[in-house]
Symmetry: C2
Subunit: 303 residues, 2 copies
C-alpha cells in the first residue's frame, strides 16, 4: 500500500476515538445504561473491543464494536470479496441500537477500512434508520442531516450513497426495505480525484454525525406513550430486522462464514423478535401506512 501519512495505524486510532466518543455521548443520552467492555483477540491476528449496552432508559439493547484484524485470506473469504491478495487488514466501527419504546427507531452505523497486500485499499460506511412507525417529518429530518454532511464533502455523494442504501437495505423475500434507508457506500478506492484523505475525512464525519443524529431522532419519542398493539408491531418489525441481518446482510454473512467473532457480529440482533403467520396490518392503519413507505427511491430529503 502507499505509505504517506494516512496509514492503517492512523485510521485505526481515529476509529477507536470515534468509538469512545460515541459511547460517551450515548451514555449521557441514555442516562441509565452503561456500556460494558469486552476486549477480544482473533486467532488469526488482531482483535477488537466490543462495547454493549442493555436495559437502559432509552436503549434496550445495543452495541458499539471496534475491530482491527489482519491475517491470511482464506479461499472462501477471498472469493466472497472478489479480490486478489493473500494478506488483509481491516478496521472498523459498527453500531446497532434498539430502543425500548416502539416510537424510537432502530439505528445502524458502520465505518470501515480494508487493505490487501496486493496494494488495494478501500473505505466504506453509512448510517441507516429503521423506524417501527415511519413518521414523515422525522424521516425527512434524518435524511436532510445525512445530505448536509455529504454535501460538505462532495456534491455527488448524497444522491449516490442514498440510492446505494436503498438497494442494500432491501429484503427481497418481503419486497420491503428494512427501514427508511440513509446512506451506504462500500469499497471506495482512493484515486487522483478522490484522495484517501478525502474519503477518510468523510468517513470520520459520518462516524461523528452518528451520536448527535441519534439523539435528534430518538430523544423526542423516547417517553411517548404506547399501546400493547404498538409494542407487538415493534416485535414483528424486529423479526424483519433479524431476517434482513441473517439472510441478506453481506457483512453479517461474511463474518459468520469466515469465522468472525459470532457474539460481536450478532450483537446487531434485537433483544426480542416475533413472527406471526402472514400478518397483515389493517388497511388505513398506521402500520399499513408504514409498510407503504418501506420502498426504494423516496426522496426523503426533498420532502
Amino acid at each position: 500500500m502507499s505509505a504517506g501519512l494516512l496509514d492503517r495505524a492512523t485510521i485505526a486510532a481515529e476509529f477507536r476515538r470515534i468509538q469512545q466518543e460515541i459511547c460517551a455521548s450515548l451514555e449521557k443520552l441514555d442516562g441509565v445504561g452503561r456500556f460494558e467492555e469486552d476486549a477480544w483477540q482473533r486467532e488469526g491476528g488482531g482483535g477488537g473491543l466490543t462495547r454493549v449496552i442493555a436495559n437502559g432508559d432509552l436503549i434496550e439493547k445495543g452495541g458499539v464494536n471496534f475491530s482491527e484484524v489482519h491475517g491470511e485470506l482464506t479461499g472462501q473469504a477471498a472469493k466472497a470479496l472478489q479480490i486478489q491478495g493473500n494478506a488483509f487488514y481491516a478496521t472498523g466501527v459498527s453500531i446497532v441500537l434498539h430502543g425500548n419504546n416502539p416510537w424510537v427507531p432502530t439505528i445502524h452505523m458502520n465505518i470501515r477500512y480494508f487493505e490487501v497486500d496486493s496494494g488495494a485499499r478501500w473505505f466504506g460506511g453509512g448510517i441507516d434508520l429503521t423506524p417501527m412507525y415511519v413518521e414523515e417529518q422525522a424521516a425527512a429530518h434524518f435524511h436532510r442531516r445525512l445530505k448536509g454532511v455529504c454535501d460538505l464533502w462532495d456534491p455527488t455523494f448524497h444522491a449516490e450513497y442514498k440510492r446505494w442504501a436503498d438497494d442494500y437495505f432491501f429484503i427481497p423475500h418481503r419486497n420491503e426495505t428494512r427501514g427508511i434507508g440513509g446512506i451506504f457506500y462500500d469499497r471506495i478506492q482512493p484515486s487522483e480525484t478522490l484522495p484517501a484523505e478525502k474519503i477518510f475525512g468523510f468517513t470520520c464525519a459520518v462516524g461523528r454525525l452518528f451520536a448527535p443524529l441519534y439523539a435528534e431522532v430518538a430523544d423526542l419519542p423516547r417517553d411517548r406513550a404506547f399501546t400493547a398493539a404498538e409494542k407487538d408491531w415493534q416485535l414483528l418489525r424486529r423479526g424483519r430486522y433479524v431476517e434482513f441481518n441473517l439472510v441478506h446482510d453481506r457483512g453479517t454473512r461474511f463474518g459468520l462464514e469466515t469465522g468472525g467473532r459470532t457474539e460481536s457480529i450478532l450483537m446487531s440482533l434485537p433483544a426480542d423478535a416475533r413472527w406471526s403467520y402472514d400478518h397483515r396490518p389493517e388497511p388505513g392503519s398506521p402500520e399499513a401506512a408504514t409498510l407503504a413507505l418501506l420502498r426504494k427511491g423516496i426522496d426523503w430529503a426533498a420532502r
Copy 2:
C-alpha cells in the same frame, strides 16, 4: 422419468393424505388449537396448502405445509441444486411445531420428492428434535423410535441418516447442533438395489411416524411447571433456532432465494425469540448440561 405405477400424482396424493392425517392427530392432541388453511398458487406453476396452528394448549405456533410445484428451473435454482434439466416437479410435506411450555421440544419433519425433465428423481426426508432442555431418557426414546422405523426398511438406514442429521442440523458459528438431531436424508435416487417403491414406502413411514412420535415426546411435559428463568432460556434457544433456519438451512435459503412463498417457508420460525449478548449458562446448571449435549455423534439410541 420412468413411468411405472409410482408416478408423481401417486406420490403427491399420498403426501396430501399424510398432511391431513397429521393435522387431525395434532388437533386431537392439542385439544384447543385448530388448523387454519391457506391454499396458495405459485406463479410459475403449482401451489400448496399451508395449514397453521397458533395459541393452542400444547402448540404455541406451528405449521404443516403441503406443496406441489412445477416449472422451469431458473439459473440460480439449477446452480444451487447442481442438476441438469430445465423443468422440475417437487412435492413435499414440511412441519415445524413450537410448544408453549419450555419443557416441550420443538420438532421438525419433512418429506419430499423431486424430479427434473432429464429423468433424475429423488426422495428426501427426516425428523429431528430440538429440546430446550435435553432430557436423556426422552432423547434416547426419540432416537430409538426413529431407529425402529429405519430398521424395518433397511438395516443401513439408521446409522447413515442419523449421522446425516447430525451434520445437517449443525450451527457452525455457534459450534452447536440445533438440537439432538434425528434422521435426515436427501436426494436418494432410486436404483436396482433401492427401488423407488422402497424409498417412497420408507418416506411415508417417516411421515406417519411423526404424529405419534410428537405425542410421545410432547404430551408428558406439556403441563410441567416452569420458572421465568426457564421461559427465558426457551426464548434464547429459539433465537438459535432462528439463526439455524435463516443462516444455514438449505431448504429455507433455497426457497427464499428462488422466489418461494415466503410465509410458507418462514412458518418454521417461532412466535418469539430472544438474543442476549454473550449469554453463558452457569456451570453445573441444567442449561449448561443441555449445551454440553448439543454435539454431533452421540449414540442416543444406544443409551
